[in-house]
């Protein structure tokens, strides 16, 4: 019984190659487009090295504050990244997480040089030592600076493979000297290139922030804002509510002190999950989930509707050829719901094949054309949005692609299938729909 579907799909393919191939291509291109849209969102959420722990990371980045007596959360006096002091009070003091890291965000472009090579600019991120515990960098040689290095302000630097090759023509450069912003550092590790899609982890050079005076760089009444973001690693995802609750007590205590300055920090549902961060990047408002879902649903709906309308006329023309068979089957005892089911399953086989082609196109395009799709013009860094294969092979993407195929198939075949199964049998045998 089941292989009858495949038999008929193959038969159809041979009978009507043009219509079948055009509708497969149409579906494939639609799935391609839809999956590009989906991937642009998913790439911000799916885990990949060095942000493999995205599922259990919370982000505490911006802080907005306003007058204590102003109750409108939309009117802030100022908003910005955190100062070290604020980050410590609000986040590093949390007890529930496995680790909390304070790091500079966004990275700075800094002049680097070694003896004998013309100085050039590279992205520099200043971090603490927990940074290396939360993000899983791939060390090609050496290792990261540790807690005691950080505490004693050791001038150690981790550099990316590309920088190592440019400076020394090799990656075995642990112990070599490098001048960063006119100050001498020792290279302690070389890591594989990081995609700037890994926003929190991305840089080309990483140094302990204890070795510079970045912490003095604060503003806002009593030194609330600065250059830092934080990443909080929970033992497990389930701990998120507990961490948020703990944060809320910290933030209430913080507000109580701020009251003396006639200030309060605005609740922005910090710290945020990777998803919440992705829908409100460094904005000074709450993550607007519903708005995001509405927008996304609308875009996907349109992207499905247009091909569905086109495909449905193709399905109809394919069914025309088929009406006699439908009539004969019904004359011998097949009932309507079976016909309906047959048509939909057959179409689903076709659209799954097409969806697979579309998904493949999307993944190839995302892999080889990542600069084209994922470049964000609001972040100016020197990295590239390379996409790792592990993201592209995530089962979520396959599931979503199949889901969209299924919906597209239903949208494009339900009306013709309904018509075909409700045609008077003798008319169907004579090749008519209706």
């Amino acid at each position: 019984m089941k292989n009858q579907y495949f038999k008929r799909v193959c038969y159809n393919l041979r009978q009507d190659p043009v219509v079948t191939i055009v509708s497969i291509l149409g579906t494939a291109l639609s799935i391609f487009l839809i999956m590009i849209v989906v991937l642009m969102q998913e790439i911000q959420i799916l885990p990949f090295s060095p942000e493999s722990n995205r599922n259990r990371i919370l982000h505490g980045d911006c802080i907005s504050y306003t007058n204590a007596n102003n109750h409108d959360d939309h009117q802030d006096l100022s908003c910005g990244m955190l100062s070290e002091a604020t980050a410590k009070k609000l986040y590093t003091s949390l007890k529930t997480p496995e680790a909390v890291s304070i790091f500079q965000y966004p990275p700075d472009q800094t002049l680097i040089s070694v003896y004998g090579v013309a100085p050039f600019s590279a992205d520099l991120k200043q971090t603490d030592d927990s940074f290396w515990r939360i993000f899983d960098f791939n060390f090609l040689s050496g290792k990261a600076y540790n807690k005691s290095d950080f505490n004693s302000a050791q001038k150690k630097a981790v550099i990316s493979e590309q920088i190592a090759r440019r400076l020394f023509g090799s990656i075995n450069v642990v112990g070599r000297k490098i001048t960063i912003n006119h100050s001498p550092y020792h290279i302690c590790g070389v890591v594989r290139e990081v995609s700037n899609l890994a926003e929190s982890a991305y840089s080309q050079i990483w140094i302990p922030y204890s070795t510079t005076d970045i912490t003095d760089d604060t503003w806002g009444a009593p030194e609330l804002s600065g250059s830092f973001s934080t990443a909080i690693l929970a033992y497990k995802k389930k701990d998120f509510p507990k961490i948020k609750a703990e944060f809320n007590t910290r933030s209430a205590a913080f507000n109580a002190k701020l009251k003396a300055e006639n200030l309060r920090i605005i609740d922005q549902e910090n710290p945020r999950t990777q998803f919440e961060k992705s829908i409100s990047p460094y904005s000074n408002g709450k993550p607007e989930r519903n708005k995001f879902y509405r927008q996304e649903a609308f875009i996907l709906f349109i992207l499905l509707l247009i091909p569905a309308i086109n495909l449905s006329s193709m399905t109809q023309s394919r069914l025309h050829r088929y009406m006699t068979e439908i009539g004969i089957r019904r004359a011998f005892g097949c009932h309507r719901s079976q016909i309906l089911k047959d048509i939909i399953i057959e179409n689903l086989i076709l659209s799954t094949i097409a969806g697979f082609v579309g998904l493949l196109l999307c993944l190839l395009f995302a892999y080889f054309g990542s600069d084209f799709i994922f470049t964000k013009n609001w972040i100016e860094d020197m990295g590239r949005p390379t996409v790792s294969i592990s993201v592209l092979l995530n089962p979520i993407l396959f599931l979503l692609a199949f889901l969209f195929c299924f919906v597209l198939n239903l949208m494009s075949s339900i009306i013709p299938a309904w018509q075909a199964s409700h045609t008077q049998i003798i008319n169907a045998i004579n090749g008519k729909i209706h």
Binding site: M1, Q4, K7, R8, Y11, Q15, T324, E325, G327, I328, R329, R330, A331, F332, G333, C334, H335, R336, S337, Q338, Q424, I425, I426, I429
Partner: protein, 223 residues
């Protein structure tokens, strides 16, 4: 009670321009085990009558009952089961499914019953043996002659062991030799297996050999 009973059957086809009265007040009783032939000039409504009896077309008005079941009271699923179990249709132009081979075509009606694949296969082979086609199981319809196609179509019509066989000009597309073979099969099914057969034909010779002939003219039964 008769096997098939039609009373006051009307059928009107309406297209945008014309209204065709295909059947007008047809009253007909067909007994179990009869071999009835239906004759009349082209366009007089013979096929329409057969299609209505075969539950693949609906009368505009009138009452049809088969084996005491009143057809208009039945739902799609019941009708489908009824067609599957009670009726076997044979068309002038065979109407085999081109994408299926001989054995799959004959098995088709059985796929709508809960039978095992091996049981289906056995029954289909048996039906093909009765029509002398068991040596062509894996041929496609387009690899067979017209007479062979019609024999496969007969096998498909009888595979489900239906009480009633409806044949619309079954020999219309065949030469006389093949036509005779098909007629012999139909007579055998009627005499040896006691099936009720209703056949539309243009051939007086064929009609003579049946147990009763009804004649139509312009949608009306005249004899």
């Amino acid at each position: 009670m008769s096997m098939i009973s039609l009373s006051g059957i009307h059928k009107t086809y309406r297209t945008k321009e014309v209204e065709t009265q295909a059947l007008e007040n047809v009253n007909l009783e067909i007994e179990k085990g009869e071999f009835l032939s239906v004759m009349g000039p082209s366009g007089c409504g013979k096929s329409t009558l057969l299609n209505i009896m075969g539950l693949i077309d609906t009368p505009t008005s009138g009452k049809l009952s088969i084996n005491d079941y009143v057809i208009e009271e039945m739902k799609d699923k019941e009708l489908a089961t009824f067609r599957n179990k009670m009726l076997g249709f044979i068309f002038q132009s065979f109407h085999l499914i081109q994408s299926l081979n001989v054995i799959d075509n004959v098995e088709m009606p059985l796929t709508y019953r809960s039978l095992s694949a091996s049981e289906r296969h056995r029954l289909a082979k048996e039906a093909l043996e009765k029509v002398g086609m068991s040596h062509r199981l894996h041929h496609r319809p387009n690899e067979l002659s017209g007479g062979q196609c019609q024999r496969v179509a007969i096998a498909r019509a009888i595979v489900g062991n239906p009480e009633i066989i409806l044949a619309d000009e079954p020999t219309g597309n065949l030469d006389s030799k093949m036509g005779n073979e098909v007629m012999n099969i139909l007579h055998r099914l009627n005499k040896e297996e006691g099936r009720t057969v209703v056949m539309v034909t243009h051939n007086e010779e064929q009609a003579k050999k049946t147990s009763r002939t009804v004649r139509f003219f312009d949608g009306r039964q005249i004899e």
